[in-house]
């Protein structure tokens, strides 16, 4: 019986990993990553590794996706700021790219 559960969990984990990789938008990817971390933790429990499952839940499901979301928020603002800066030529210092190339980027 437990063999079936373990086999199913491994297939689900592999499927979730594929979804994580195929999600191009990083903000949504963070949510799928959290689901993937949970699936990985469940597979570890099925593989009789409770310690590793506990640390995977703490890291893979909670901490890393939170950091990814915050990093995405900061990256999006930086990209928006540089586009605004380049488009409007508003000489706003700060997070616009250091290099002063004026060409409109594709």
């Amino acid at each position: 019986m437990t063999d079936w559960i373990l086999g199913l969990l491994v297939l689900l984990t592999a499927a979730t990993a594929t979804v994580v990789v195929l999600t191009r938008d990083p903000a949504r990817q963070a949510a799928v990553l959290s689901a993937y971390g949970l699936m990985l933790a469940l597979t570890m429990v099925a593989l009789a590794a409770p310690d590793v499952a506990l640390s995977q839940i703490g890291v893979g499901t909670a901490a890393v996706p939170l950091i990814v979301i915050l990093a995405v928020a900061r990256c999006e603002r930086a990209v928006r700021a540089s586009q605004a800066d380049r488009a409007g030529r508003v000489g706003r210092p700060g997070d616009s790219a250091g290099d002063d190339q004026e060409r409109e980027r594709s």
Binding site: D25, A27, A30, A49, P50, D51, V52, A53, L54, S55, G58, V59, A62, A63, L66, I67, I69, L70, A71, V72, A73, R74, E76, R77, R80, A81, R92, P93, G94, D95
Partner: protein, 263 residues
């Protein structure tokens, strides 16, 4: 062609690796017959040092030197992240996150946060201290402690988080945790046997104060991991919250949730 070069390189490489990998994996024995001489010795050694949790015995007692390296990987990554996300002089004009007034958090959320915080800290402490008896340990407990402090941010605001865990104190706590681990190692060396030797009394089976240095190392790791994760998340929070003062409401992403970037 240049645009598709990485995909082509990766595809050819992946196919070749898969073919060689499958041929190699056929050489692996099935599940039952994989030889585990090391595992048998490890279980015997765990019993010798009265550590019911064989995994933590391997991690902290038998292969403690690996975990010493692992803790310093975490320390290097945490202080590296703080170094990389430090705010430079020219960014000083940006709004400091804790200048925000108390967030208008729903009372219910604030209540739940206030209730859950002590619970999270209690569970984290329990997991750290009982690492050698039941699944858990320094690292797992540390992440639970850290998630407790994220609660403080979600339920209240950034200033509460900074009051609960000011960066200076967290940095020091992290360094002290890592130093504690290395010091326990030196204690073994000075005690005449070897570095990271488990010379403390091993106590009674399944009792809290058993397995010699394992609980001590668990506490050191719990301190370091808890401080490291809170510090790293706080640094990322600070980066995500910085909003240039002039246009103030730049797309309304003042709160920590990801801005609704229009892709």
């Amino acid at each position: 062609m240049r645009r598709r070069l990485p995909l082509v390189l990766g595809a050819v490489g992946a196919v070749a690796l898969a073919v060689v990998g499958v041929r190699a994996f056929l050489g692996l024995p099935g599940a039952g017959e994989v030889p585990h001489p090391y595992a048998a010795r490890a279980v015997a050694a765990a019993y010798a040092h009265t550590t019911p949790n064989a995994v933590v015995s391997v991690t902290l007692d038998q292969r403690g030197f690996d975990t010493l390296g692992e803790e310093f990987v975490l320390l290097a990554a945490a202080i590296g992240t703080v170094l990389l996300l430090r705010r430079l002089a020219e960014e000083a004009h940006e709004d400091r996150p804790h200048d925000y007034g108390p967030e208008d958090v729903f009372e219910a959320v604030r209540l739940v946060g206030a209730l859950l915080l002590p619970a999270a800290l209690l569970v984290g402490g329990y997991v750290v201290l009982h690492g050698h008896l039941s699944p858990g340990g320094g690292f797992q407990g540390g992440t639970v402690l850290a998630s407790g402090l994220y609660l403080a941010y979600l339920a209240a605001d950034y200033r509460t988080l900074e009051r609960l865990g000011p960066p200076g104190v967290l940095d020091t706590a992290e360094g002290v945790g890592a130093l504690g681990y290395a010091a326990v190692g030196f204690a073994g060396l000075i005690g005449g046997s070897a570095y990271l030797a488990n010379d403390l009394p091993h106590g009674v089976w399944n009792s809290l104060l058993s397995a010699g240095t394992v609980p001590v190392l668990n506490v050191a790791i719990g301190l370091e991991v808890g401080a490291a994760f809170v510090l790293v998340v706080a640094k990322f929070l600070e980066q995500a919250l910085l909003v240039p003062r002039e246009d103030g409401d730049d797309g309304g992403d003042r709160d920590a949730t990801a801005g609704e970037g229009e892709h």
